[in-house]
Amino acid sequence: APGDGGGDGGDGNGGDELTQVKLQLQWLPQGQFAGYFAAQELGYFEDEGLDVEIIPSGGDIVPQDALANGDVDYAIAWVPKVLGSIEQGANLTNIAQIFQRSGTLQVSWADSGIDSVADFEGKKIGSWGFGNEWEIFAAMAAEGLDSSTVEIITQDFNMNAFLQGDIDAAQAMTYNEYAQLLETANPDTGELYQPDDFNVISYEDTEGAMLQDAIWADTERLESDEEYQETTVKFLKAVIRGWVYAAENPEEASEITIGEGSGWGPSHELWMVNETNKLIWPSPNGIGMMDEAAWEATVAGALSAVNESGASPITEEPPATAWTNEWIQQALDELEGEDLDLTGEGFEPIEVELTEGGN
């Protein structure tokens, strides 16, 4: 049922004919994508006349490729990964930079002496690979380290490799793996691990920081397909509403994602929504607006990062079509005047208590 929604409903859609839209996520359904699920569940998409299918992905689906191949209409993906795809021939445009900052951490034990990226040298550094490693190499490059100075270990789905000492510093997202650590009982004490058990390096504080979750669209269609342009604006408006909702109602947003098939327990899910909110808000120019400095930093980082087989995500500056604020600006403009906090100036994160096992 189309929710009547708060506010005055913008341009309400009269007909029953909904426009079909497919959105490709970059992982399983979870709080990281709470805004999209909220927009879906609360009828924001339908209000805009869209029938959106949210497609989760798994181990090997590359969201930007699904988009480039025309399987979907929009995709959520990290910027450096898509830059690589663009250089390989994908014709994609970043239309909304949802996450304003990087949520990647490198976590080590408090007594490990790894306090900065410079200390990586000679250590076993965990990463998920799959394009998630470029921040590490960029940060190292800024410290004058190349990939051969560390041993990169591919992390699997959990933090056991770190907990058992197989790797010295593990890659962790603030919203997920870091919480996994804090949900684990310390076998020595029987109590959950505490933040001060770990040294946490946030890539946001390094030269390697790169932009993460963004909404990507098909460049060609954006240029020539008017219907797609309209849909894009409507889509972005609904997404903005969804994320605003998640910022203001993290508990409800968390329940919505659980209902959409996230297998996490309530406390972990809430943590994830809350931490995701922190990566989005505040957005001084409005949610989804590209911070050009951050973009330039990401491009610079991607140019400097070199992995162990000598490959870089990109070797030259990306084309100008790689991002635009045009559509998000239009969406924000259309939402102006509604009772929505589009910059997150009033955003206050909540306190979440984690429980053992994330259940």
């Binding site: 795809s85 076993k124 799959f130 990169i152 591919t154 992390q155 699997d156 056991n160 490799a161």
Partner: protein
């Protein structure tokens, strides 16, 4: 039976066709592929052309070689260990009925475990910083066919041969050495041949789920993740070649040692 049946062609033509036919199929497939990409215009982004794969193959030759060696040695270690354990356990199962019956559900279970399920567990148990997990997975994958075939082989001794050994008052060690092992050998080798390409695939797929980097599996996924599909395909080609190498070596071993195999007994 050396008699060629039901062929109207002579033996020489036959040999020719045996070689020409698969090559022809391969050339046709490659041709259609290249045609689709260059002439019909399926985007090179989606389906790289054979030519561009070859290009990447040459450009990343060194990394391909070292990755093949890494994955190949994991597979080889797994194949060897898995085969040895499979043969040893099969010997025990052939000797003691209880072992046979006890191992049945365990082997059946091992035969149906997906690598995805096992990889994280093995990484936790043995450490994600070593190649052990991959080797163990390759070993497990090899174990099953080797065990099953070897056990069958151990049961192939014929009554005449067993009677003969008894008439010679041969000790059980002598029976094992002169009769049971040689009888089982071709079956063992068949098991190892089947295991060979499984070992490569398993070692490679295991790399998708954690552990040190640098193998073919890791590089395929990294290349694919950055949309470098031609490069991903180049690594795939290398992994196929590796699997084929394992298969052909074990096949050769089988052919070499099986020349005077006991004829399968066909009478009921």
């Amino acid at each position: 039976m050396a008699i060629a049946t039901a062929t109207r062609m002579g033996p020489k033509t036959e040999t020719t066709f045996r070689i020409v036919a698969p090559v022809a199929v391969g050339v046709i497939v490659l041709g259609v592929w290249q045609f689709l990409v260059t002439v019909v215009g399926v985007s090179d982004y989606l389906l790289p052309s054979p030519a561009s794969i070859i290009e990447e193959f040459i450009q990343f030759w060194e990394s391909i070689l070292s990755a093949s060696i890494l994955t190949g040695s994991n597979a080889l270690i797994g194949l060897i260990v898995g085969s040895l354990v499979g043969i040893a356990l099969a010997a025990l199962a052939a000797r003691w009925r209880a072992v046979d019956q006890m191992s049945a559900p365990v082997v059946a279970s091992l035969a149906v475990i997906p690598i995805v399920a096992l990889a994280p567990v093995l990484n936790s148990m043995y450490g994600a910083d070593s190649q052990f997990g991959r080797q163990a997975i390759a070993a497990l994958a090899s174990f099953v066919p080797v065990f099953i075939n070897t056990l069958r082989g151990f049961r192939q001794t014929t009554l005449v041969h067993r009677d003969l050994m008894k008439a010679y008052a041969a000790s059980s060690g002598q029976v094992l050495r002169t009769l049971t092992l040689p009888t089982a050998r071709p079956f063992m080798l068949t098991g190892i041949r089947i295991a060979s390409s499984l070992a490569v695939i398993s070692a490679l797929v295991a790399e998708y789920f954690g552990g040190p980097r640098g193998g073919l599996g890791g590089l395929i996924s990294t290349s694919a993740a950055s949309s470098a599909y031609a490069r991903a395909w180049a690594y795939v080609v290398a992994s196929i070649a590796l699997g084929l190498l394992f298969y052909l070596v074990t096949l050769g071993l089988e052919r070499m040692l099986q020349r005077h195999a006991p004829q399968a007994q066909r009478r009921p």
